[in-house]
């Protein structure tokens, strides 16, 4: 049985990734597999699930976009300040095939970086697509260069890389080259489009679904998805594209902390 109390450690390093997006490195041996997440406790504020974006023998990192009270505070933190760690939790990505495509929308690329690093180590031919609204929101531009990871950047406004969506690039790749498996993390509507494109092209894919979580280990029910009731924190967050498309609410709605439905795409 895992210890369900957070272990508090001082922040080792803060990395400025992009406009309003920071990474925080923590001196804690998490031992996460690619795609798994940690619950990060900001003392006195809240506990939230976050994908693991950096990991070595003695530390790991998370990449956070300043959107709510918790993430805004995290983005203001400095080395030496304390954060609590629980985990790792959730299912991991399955690295398969010789040629893989990884698609990170917004800060979604964070949850794919460990997988990309493993692919490079195992000499899998990996192509990363990182997309954002505009150049100032693109993360890991330096990091992928240093890793030698083949990366295509897209921006909605064309301010950097290709103008358009990550899914446009995916379609082009699937038409021109052979891909054995696709991995995607990002806004849910993007993920759904990826799952559909992969289904049409008969290419297996895995995506990571984000849902509101209170506990992270399958007890609170907050992340149970309709209609089957699978808990995203335990039975996910990684799902195959096929599994994801069977989830009725996938790409349609999610639930907030009070279990009320909220539609994707701004409605309600």
């Amino acid at each position: 049985m895992k210890n369900e109390m957070p272990v508090t450690v001082p922040i080792k390093k803060v990395i400025d990734e992009a406009n309003g997006i920071k990474s925080v490195i923590l001196p804690y041996r998490l031992n996460a597999k690619p795609g798994q997440f940690a619950m990060i406790w900001l003392p006195g504020v809240d506990l939230k699930p976050v994908g693991v974006s950096y990991q070595d023998e003695s530390s790991f990192g998370i990449t956070v976009s300043a959107v709510g009270a918790w993430s805004k505070k995290i983005c203001e933190m400095k080395a030496g300040e304390l954060l609590g760690v629980m985990g790792p939790y959730g299912k991991a990505f399955k690295l398969e095939g010789k040629n893989i495509v990884l698609i990170g929308g917004g800060y979604g690329a964070a949850s794919l970086m460990m997988l990309a690093e493993r692919a490079l180590k195992e000499e899998t031919n990996a192509t990363m697509i990182i997309g954002a609204r505009s150049s100032d929101c693109l993360i890991y531009r330096e990091r992928v260069k240093q890793l030698g990871l083949k990366t295509i950047f897209t921006t909605d406004d064309g301010s950097f890389g290709e103008k358009g969506f990550t899914t446009d690039v995916l379609q082009k790749i699937l038409k021109e080259e052979k891909a054995d498996k696709v991995f995607a993390v990002g806004p849910e509507l993007m993920e759904k489009r990826v799952a559909e494109i992969c289904l049409e092209n008969n290419v297996p894919c895995e995506i990571s679904i984000e849902r509101y979580m209170k506990c992270g280990f399958g007890v609170c029910g907050a992340c149970s998805v309709d209609d089957e009731g699978k808990r995203v924190c335990v039975e996910g967050t990684v799902f195959s594209g096929e599994e994801a498309l069977k989830i009725r609410e996938f790409g349609k709605y999610h639930r907030d902390g009070s279990a009320l439905k909220k539609e994707f795409g701004g409605k309600k």
């Binding site: 049985m1 369900e4 109390m5 007890v219 029910g221 907050a222 089957e228 009320l260 439905k261």
Partner: protein, 288 residues
């Protein structure tokens, strides 16, 4: 083959395990998943927004009506659990949820850690228990379960008050406490609301004693809840007097299939010890 079916106030449970309120059950899908993993019955809990949306019509009300229609598809009886600030709020919510598709209704006046509710609102006295139960009873045509707190001096008196107020069953018990854990490096309480209820192994002996006391004081059935992680724990509860057993923290300790595991272990125990029905074990700890 041992018969492990339970008739709980007319609710037919395929086995005595019930998903406890406050765990996993926030939606029809989430309780269906517990049933798929072996739960004989499930308690679906309204908290926060759900409850408010039921109480105060807003665009969410359509979602909620849809959410709780056709609960038969869940495959086991679904009990709707509500909580309120006072008798009036309890009664108002109970009236709304009585119209939905639930098999029974559970009222929780025993939450140990939410200001304005449960023990923090002084709801765990015999007088208030009877008052709230009566108010709800007047609005509810379905079987009514009352969930009690273990953090009281004489739980048998409170159970009696609930029975007098018109309860059809007692859910015993809610969590112990509240408790607090402080992270000594950041010097901050760890839990979101600073305090929380204590469950699991620490709670079980207290829960068993509560069920034992209640069994002596009332005639209505008891859903023994608190630290039931294994079939042996379930048998212990049944011997204390429980008709069914609630499982909550067991989902954490043994995964969502805890219901199937506990049921299997109860059956194995019954086989080894020559019991053919749960009835033969019920309340046996009371025999001189």
């Amino acid at each position: 083959m041992a018969d492990i079916g339970v008739n709980l106030c007319g609710l037919k449970l395929a086995n005595p395990t019930v998903l406890a309120s406050g765990i996993v059950g926030i939606s029809k899908a989430s309780v269906s998943y517990a049933v798929k993993n072996g739960a004989g019955g499930v308690i679906l809990t309204y908290e926060g927004g759900m409850l408010n949306s039921v109480g105060y019509p807003n665009p969410g009300i359509d979602n909620i009506a849809e959410e709780f229609s056709n609960l038969k598809s869940v495959g086991a009886p679904v009990i709707g659990s509500i909580t309120g600030k006072n008798a009036e709020e309890f009664a108002m919510l109970a009236g709304k949820i009585n119209k939905m598709d639930f098999a029974a209704i559970e009222i929780v006046m025993s939450c140990p850690h939410t200001p304005g509710y449960g023990t923090m609102a002084g709801q765990s006295t015999p007088e208030i228990t009877e008052e709230i139960t009566k108010a709800v009873r007047a609005k509810v045509t379905k079987p009514l379960f009352v969930k009690l707190s273990p953090n009281v001096m004489a739980i048998s008196e409170i159970a009696k008050a609930a029975e007098k107020g018109g309860a059809d069953a007692i859910t015993a018990v809610n969590t112990l406490g509240p408790g607090m854990v402080i992270d000594i490096k950041s010097r901050k309480p760890v839990l979101g609301g600073k305090i929380g209820g204590l469950s699991g192994d620490a709670l079980r002996p207290v829960a068993v004693r509560c069920v034992y006391d209640i069994y002596k004081s009332v005639k209505i059935p008891i859903i023994g809840t608190g630290g039931v992680l294994t079939g042996e724990h379930a048998v212990e509860m049944i011997m204390a007097g429980a008709t069914a057993v609630g499982i909550g923290t067991g989902v954490y300790n043994r995964g969502i299939s805890v219901f199937r595991k506990v049921t299997r272990e109860i059956t194995a125990f019954m086989k080894e010890n020559n019991y053919s029905t749960l009835e033969e074990m019920r309340g046996k700890a009371h025999e001189e």
